[in-house]
């Protein structure tokens, strides 16, 4: 069963009709294939026009679409010889963050991703992509490992945020995130991060203090969820749509603000309509981002990464 978002209803209706027609037996009264073709053209136009002007709130829904490619899908699609790594060597393995070594376009890399999980059981195992301190400590461990062996670090971020739980606080959630950010910034190897779905606050930046930050066209990246922001600043979580507008959380807005470097175009109708094509486009974009960084001396990478983050917000954004 395909999952349609609220604003995709008109699209769903036409696609439903097409499906019905395809199952009808051929009859002399009407030319079914002609009708299917007409409707297909119509739905194509509709998808194009809908997705050309998604509002920030609609993008939030697309970014959270269950059919969207997850970090594990990206790893499966782009990384060969993948060897998963587990554990923070102190407490546990946190499956909200997947980690490993492998090859990207033939070269050895370290990979990190926040993983939401696909089916219900899987989602619970991955805690819906909300990592605990163990996850951020595993990330730090893998980043430091990559640094020692000269491997570029690729991260794929898709998280509602760090897990707000009693156990997470007891084991130092804040410290774990801070140390992960520090590890990203100190890595003497290229760090390339992509926000593939939701870039939720501290849980996202923990894996995204990178040389080059990419974002899928319909991904979002924000300091707080629109719902959370609405309930605090408007005292009404129902005003999430308004908050989404105000937060400037779309790829386009963040590029204008100079906070991300590259927007990765998604297939027509969003990455969930064609995950394979979306992942291929992402692979190309990551490759382009990584090329000029490869072979740079570690000290220069670190210095430039610092300058880049220190420059953020110093100049007024281009209108």
């Amino acid at each position: 069963m395909r999952h349609f978002l609220d604003f995709e209803k008109p699209i769903a209706e036409i696609e439903g009709k097409i499906e019905e027609l395809r199952h009808l037996p051929e009859s002399p009264d009407m030319n079914i294939s002609e009708e299917v073709e007409r409707l297909s053209e119509k739905v194509d136009k509709l998808i194009r026009s809908t997705y050309a002007k998604l509002t920030p709130w609609q993008k939030t829904q697309v970014a959270r679409h269950p059919g969207r490619p997850h970090a594990a899908d990206v790893v499966a699609g782009l990384i060969t010889e993948f060897v998963p790594l587990a554990g923070d060597r102190a407490f546990a393995d946190d499956r909200a963050i997947i980690a490993g070594l492998g090859r990207f376009e033939g070269s050895a890399v370290a990979v990190l991703g926040t993983e939401k999980g696909a089916e219900t059981e899987d989602r619970v195992a991955h805690n819906f992509g909300m990592a605990r301190p163990e996850g951020y400590r595993k990330a730090r461990r893998v980043i430091e490992l990559a640094g020692r062996f000269g491997l570029p670090v690729l991260t794929f971020v898709d998280t509602p945020g760090a897990y707000p739980g009693i156990d997470a606080e007891a084991r130092g959630q804040a410290e774990a995130i801070a140390r992960a950010i520090e590890a990203c910034l100190a890595a003497p190897v290229p760090v390339v991060s992509t926000i593939i779905g939701e870039g939720g606050s501290g849980g996202a930046i923990a894996l995204a203090a990178a040389d080059h930050v990419l974002m899928f066209e319909h991904a979002i990246y924000s300091v707080i969820s629109p719902e959370g922001c609405a309930s605090i600043l408007w005292r009404d979580a129902a005003l999430a749509e308004t908050a989404a507008e105000a937060l400037k959380l779309t790829a386009e807005d963040l590029k204008k603000l100079g906070l991300i470097d590259t927007i990765v175009p998604e297939p027509l109708g969003g990455a969930h309509r064609d995950p394979t094509a979306a992942i291929a486009a992402l692979g190309k974009a990551v490759s382009t981002a990584l090329a000029p960084l490869s072979g740079e001396p570690g000290a220069r990478l670190v210095a430039r990464r610092r300058e880049k983050f220190l420059a953020m917000g110093r100049a007024a954004p281009a209108a």
Binding site: R171, G172, A178, A209, V223, A243, K248
Partner: protein, 302 residues
């Protein structure tokens, strides 16, 4: 309504109602409900003389209580105001204006340099009364400036936090203050200078999850609320009652996140002693990497 407001004629009322004394001569301790005379409270650095409860101390009073005489504050680096043109129920630009008028501060932080018990220090102290001490670009930039100043003066950097977290009105720009302030800390650490964090009530969100948890030493005031997620969010997520003393300074101390829980009155001595120990001249010389290669025992030995 009383006989005065009801029956005394307006002119006499203004005469009688004239105030030449502050509004709140007496404060009630929020913990033990004891009434405390304002002069006594000020003398006691806003710590309840009855139960020891630490109330929030305004940034300017904090500096005066901690630093030796003769300290100076620096002008905060200018940053573009309201980059998102953010508007919730009020415009962010108006909120900033109101906070500035009310607190007589530029933003939610003050940076000062001088000495603490004779030890050189640059102190960055959060003003919680300025938009909940929230961290936006101005605060991040002030911390970067404080770090550079500490390196320039070969002084310790002391961060005294009191913050609700990121300033939502600056969107992802406020999120970027987490890496930016982390870089500030790295600059100080690489210069071999001590970086000490004093966590005061409350310190949460993006502030805790960046520079505030990266100190060489973490000191916290008794009872201070310190954490990443807010208590309400956690309660809604896990649907259970939070344990007694959860996210308090003592809890963080027990869980290994805070070195010392120090009473406000001891803070100056604690910091001065720590800076002194960490900047021992002979030890610093020894810690500096030298050109001499250490002789390692050969494989054939033993």
């Amino acid at each position: 309504m009383n006989w005065l407001t009801n029956y005394v004629r307006p002119k006499i009322r203004t005469l009688l109602g004239r105030k030449d004394v502050p509004d709140n001569l007496w404060h009630k301790c929020p913990a033990c409900e004891q009434m405390i005379f304002h002069l006594e409270l000020a003398k006691n650095l806003r710590v309840c003389p009855n139960c020891g409860h630490h109330m929030r101390l305004p940034a300017k009073e904090r500096l005066a209580s901690l630093m030796d005489e003769g300290f100076a504050t620096i002008e905060l680096p200018a940053v573009p105001a309201d980059p998102l043109h953010f508007r919730d129920q009020k415009r962010y630009a108006d909120r900033l204006k109101a906070a500035r008028a009310e607190t007589e501060l530029d933003d939610a932080i003050i940076v000062a340099h001088g000495t603490i018990g004779g030890q050189r220090a640059v102190v960055a102290v959060f003003a919680f009364d300025f938009m909940g001490g929230s961290m936006g670009t101005a605060v991040g930039e002030a911390l970067v400036a404080a770090a550079k100043l500490a390196v320039l003066q070969e002084a310790a950097l002391i961060a005294i936090t009191a913050s609700g977290g990121a300033r939502m009105q600056e969107g992802a720009l406020s999120l970027m203050q987490m890496p930016r302030t982390t870089i500030a800390v790295q600059i100080v650490k690489e210069a071999g200078l001590p970086y000490i964090v004093v966590l005061t009530d409350p310190t949460t969100g993006g502030v805790t999850a960046s520079f505030a948890m990266l100190g060489d030493i973490h000191v916290a005031e008794p009872g201070a609320m310190i954490g990443f997620a807010g208590a309400r969010v956690i309660e809604q997520t896990v649907r259970e009652k939070l344990p007694e003393g959860f996210q308090r300074a003592e809890y963080l101390n027990e869980h290994g996140m805070v070195d010392i829980v120090a009473r406000r009155a001891e803070l100056r001595d604690t910091l001065s002693r720590l800076i002194g120990l960490l900047t021992e001249p002979a030890a610093r010389r020894a810690a500096r990497p030298s050109a001499e290669v250490l002789a390692l025992p050969g494989i054939s030995e033993g």
